[in-house]
Symmetry: C2
Subunit: 319 residues, 2 copies
């Protein structure tokens, strides 16, 4: 609960903050935002993470001070664990021996923390960090504002997804008033890729096709494409959503080759079409409109299998 | 001025509203938003326009009541002219004989109206319509909220452009509270294209290349591509921005073939690179970071000419 978090911060001094590996914008923005908040209150705080930080977040204030670690010892009064479904997600050993504060906005989150503050009405953990700042009587510094604004932008698709509430936009307004620059954050999140993203997009989009009914779009990313483009992790962010620009497309299957006859598939859908259930049939999972799974087999066969499964989900939603 | 607009509305009863031909989201959203505001105040109001409405706006409340006209006579107490640089932009005859109210957020707008209300600090005319509603003591109905929210989204690139202020986001928050649905508006603006958009994107992106310095990206759209894709007006919206996702690209040249050796070129740039000045060299114009022009000649020669001109603008910005 929020009141427990406030009390902890008021009574202790040494904190670490961590989030899941391969952090998204909400994970990294909220972690840094909380770090700046704690420091502004006169506390010792540092962000600890295992692994690299995507280029999109390299301009955030404090990102150069993040500690790259694979374990933590007992030197902290508490470790804040941001946007993690369980305690293994940060990929850091020793967390189970720490006093941990679990902060998340996913209702499905395990209550693994010593304190658990879960608010599934928040669009992003960033919104919760803003609320924490207000609850503790802190000032939104320009550093907090920039980090938390990025968290909001990342998790709401720049205020386009259905999780965008009037409160989200009110918080965003306050963050801009406190110094966040929407254009700067937008450039960082959407326009800081290497050229290989464009080259990869060209090749992937060249494979686009529709199923026989014209309702499902299919995209393929071969191993060779990634190599030819010299692409890096994350270059294909959002490619799966491109065909949804066409109003008649209600689902997308994005198949990425990861080895001989081995594929990762990302699924997207509109409205009531539940692709999480499709993914579960293949041992994967996700949300209703965005899910993922692994599948083997000759490419054409695996694709046909997925088209059949997604078609069934479309028909189920229509009935 | 706003006070004159309020006084006019309070004292008169019969209004028309119009905007420029080929309306963008701000033009159509603000026009319909104002129409709903006037009606909620018990006034007679209708939107009159010359020409079609893009598919993206077909779901807006009131769009089916828009009058398609090529001229207006004297039956209105006043005609509101939304987001037009001059009185020719609506493409409607007879406006010069009307009492007109010019509402715009572009500082360069001609003061062609009987009343001129220009607010260049507003991100969109939509923000001004919200302010008008507040100034006149009106209630933000769900219809007003949805139309004005779309206007804001369209003119700020979903709150990503530098015109997004804390006031913009505050207004957006109030509109959502009043009934606007961010996800619905986002779907309408970004995801309501025909399939031909995807096919055209595939073909255009297949032409992507960089200049020798790796700073300029070039895209080509041939007449044949549009025909093969069966594409419609607006299908290529935003294609010119795709290469800006790569951080090393500081300018984009998008050349669209419109006839034998005839081209329309769209230019985009980052930061201080002024492509409006480049466009002016060829009789075109626009804003610092987004401009357009017409150019003739064999394709390769015209392209080389533009690369030289844009390169000079890049060098000028760096010096």
């Amino acid at each position: 609960m929020l009141s427990q978090v406030v009390e902890l911060i008021e009574n202790k001094d040494n904190f670490a903050i961590t989030t899941h590996i391969k952090p998204d914008g909400d994970g990294i923005g909220s972690s840094l935002g909380l770090c700046w908040l704690l420091r502004s209150l006169g506390k010792n705080a540092e962000v600890v993470m295992n692994g690299g930080i995507p280029q999109a977040y390299s301009g955030l204030p404090g990102v150069d001070q993040i500690q790259n670690v694979s374990s933590v010892n007992g030197k902290y009064d508490a470790v804040f664990v941001i946007e993690c479904s369980d305690l293994a997600r940060p990929g850091i050993e020793g967390l189970e021996d720490q006093f941990t504060v679990n902060i998340d906005h996913h209702a499905t989150c395990e209550h693994f923390g010593t304190i658990n503050w879960i608010d599934s009405t928040a669009s992003a953990v960033g919104e919760m960090i803003y609320n924490l700042c207000k609850a503790i009587g802190g000032r939104i510094t320009p550093e907090i504002a920039e980090c938390v604004y990025l968290a909001l932008v990342a998790d709401t698709g720049s205020f386009r997804y259905s999780n965008t509430s009037d409160r989200t936009l009110k918080v965003a307004s306050e963050l801009v008033k406190a110094g966040a620059k929407p254009a700067k954050v937008g450039e960082a999140v959407y326009n800081s890729y290497p050229w290989s993203r464009i080259e990869l997009m060209r090749q992937v989009l060249d494979t686009v096709k529709r199923d026989g009914t014209g309702r499902i779009a299919i995209l393929r990313q071969t191993l060779a494409m990634g190599e030819e483009a010299g692409s890096v992790d994350g270059d294909n962010n959002g490619f799966v959503n491109i065909p949804l620009a066409a109003k008649d497309i209600v689902a997308v299957i994005y198949m990425r080759e990861i080895g001989k006859d081995q594929f990762r598939a990302s699924l997207r859908s509109r409205g009531n079409i539940n692709v999480a259930k499709v993914a579960e049939q293949f041992g994967g999972g996700g949300h209703k409109n965005a899910a993922g799974l692994s599948i083997n087999g000759p490419w054409d066969e695996a694709e046909a299998t997925l088209i059949t499964a997604v078609s069934a989900a479309i028909d189920a939603a229509a009935s």
